[in-house]
């Protein structure tokens, strides 16, 4: 976390700078099936974050060394487009995107029925086009919709959502200022039906009580985003006429 100086993040009326209540998330919009070249795809706008995800496969796992005899592997790349942040990002993998790619792939392997496809891989490509705090969560939400769209079997959907702490107060879904100047950030990948946690990271400073409140907020938000995911998948086929 960026540390907390004299930046005011909560208004005198108790609301946040953008007018949200403490347990209110930013607006989320989802579309399924937006990329004609992919087997499955999704577009997610969460606040000012925009993520697009493509899924290809299952296909034979290459290179051989990543192949597993008993299950499929998720071959995932999380990537931020050079123009996605206010300072341009040099193209290519960096340590941050590698780490996020690894734990996101493992989170998805926990919900996809990978044992159905031995020796295979399922390629998941997450591209962040616009970033405004919380992109790893938006990527998880998008990947889940894209996997369902690709017909990949899963035992649940998965939703990415974060809570954190600003000015010693727990808030849901940090925006950019709150992320930069807040005291803690707890991103999670939640299975909305079973309430299991498949993705978990945290940095900053949280008491146990604060953590529990973050968890409560995240669970609540996961259910809301799950509804939007399901709506996107249904809309794609109920009024469907053409690909993208």
């Amino acid at each position: 976390m960026g540390g907390y100086g004299d930046v005011q993040l909560l208004r005198d009326d108790g609301l946040r700078l953008d007018g949200r209540k403490l347990d209110e998330m930013r607006e989320v919009q989802i579309e399924a099936g937006v990329l004609p070249a992919a087997d499955g795809s999704a577009w997610v706008k969460h606040g000012l974050n925009v993520a697009v995800c493509a899924v290809y496969g299952p296909m034979e796992a290459h290179p051989r060394k990543i192949q597993r005899q008993d299950r499929a592997v998720i071959d995932l790349r999380y990537n931020m487009a050079p123009f996605s942040t206010s300072d341009r990002i040099r193209p290519g993998f960096n340590r941050r995107s590698r780490e996020i790619s690894k734990v996101t792939a493992e989170a998805l392997e926990s919900v996809v029925l990978v044992e159905r496809y031995p020796r295979s891989k399922i390629r998941v490509e997450i591209e962040i086009l616009s970033a405004e705090a919380g992109t790893r969560c938006v990527g998880i939400t998008a990947a889940s919709v894209a996997l369902a769209d690709a017909g990949i079997p899963m035992r649940d959907m998965i939703v990415g959502v974060a809570s954190g702490k600003v000015e010693d107060t727990v808030v849901l879904d940090l925006d950019k200022a709150e992320d930069n100047y807040g005291q803690a950030d707890l991103p999670m990948g939640i299975l909305p039906t079973t309430e299991e946690i498949a993705f978990l990271q945290m940095d900053g400073d949280l008491s146990v009580e604060e953590f529990n409140l973050c968890m409560e907020y995240n669970m609540k938000a996961a259910k809301e985003i799950h509804e939007i995911q399901m709506d996107a998948l249904r809309r794609r086929y109920e009024s469907k006429n053409g690909g993208a």
Binding site: E60, G151, M154, Y237
Partner: protein, 240 residues
């Protein structure tokens, strides 16, 4: 040609007669109680519920709950008729790309010709298209193909169209009703592979007629009125 086997339950026995609105479900969604019903394809038992593991339509047949998926990748099964493209050739075997996760292996002994060791390329080379059957799929998903059988051969003319495997079922429904309409209006020879590939042979203009029809089916996805749309399309063609 292979009979239209319902992959996810027998359509004739369940689908049409109910007439109820089909319920579109997403992975993780409960589609019924696990007591009493059995979990069929596209579903899992989870606690007290049977849940869907796929995006698709929830259905029931004789106490078995199953989900008919909207989109599925091709997973080969023994007996499938497939349209493949030769990807590599060895002295005594061919590898063919069959639209699945793994290439199919065609040994010299299952080819329709008498092949001298080392002369495989003279019969089929890289890029050649063939009609084969899946002889065997082992546990590790290795696929053995055969070209011994009536009609199995190298395809020297025509073109190959693609359609998601779940829609292959749609065009074969009701004694291949849609397929027969396409054959009638185009005067083309059409062979439908189980692997989502359709071989069409005829005049270039007639192949285009089939291609446009297949594109129409692709764009309609899983809508219930695919048949009537194809009938309208056919009427337009007949009037031209």
């Amino acid at each position: 040609m292979g009979s239209p086997v319902g992959r996810h339950g027998d359509k004739e026995m369940t689908g049409a007669k109910e007439g109820a609105v089909q319920r579109l479900v997403t992975p993780g969604e409960a589609i019924g109680a696990s007591s009493g019903a059995r979990a069929g394809t596209g579903t899992l038992k989870q606690g007290d519920n049977i849940i869907s593991t796929k995006l698709g339509y929830a259905k029931e047949n004789n106490g078995v709950l199953f989900v008919e998926p909207i989109y599925s990748a091709y997973l080969p099964r023994s007996g499938d008729l497939v349209v493949g493209v030769i990807e590599s050739v060895r002295n005594n075997l061919w590898f063919a790309e069959v639209n699945g996760p793994f290439n199919g292996l065609l040994p010299m002994s299952l080819a329709p010709w008498k092949v001298e060791f080392g002369a495989a390329r003279e019969h089929m080379d890289i890029g050649d298209v063939m009609l084969a059957r899946v002889q065997e799929v082992d546990e590790a998903h290795n696929i053995v193909l055969t070209m011994k059988g009536v009609g199995l051969r190298k395809l020297k003319e025509g073109s190959v169209l693609e359609l998601p495997v779940n829609l292959i079922k749609t065009i074969r429904e009701n004694n291949e009703e849609i397929l027969n309409i396409l054959k009638e209006i185009s005067d083309c020879r059409i062979i439908v592979g189980d692997n989502g590939r359709i071989w069409v042979d005829g005049d270039p203009a007639n192949i285009t007629t089939v291609r446009d029809g297949i594109d129409l089916i692709k764009s309609m996805g899983h809508e219930s009125n695919v048949l009537s749309s194809i009938q309208n399309y056919a009427n337009e063609r007949r009037n031209n």
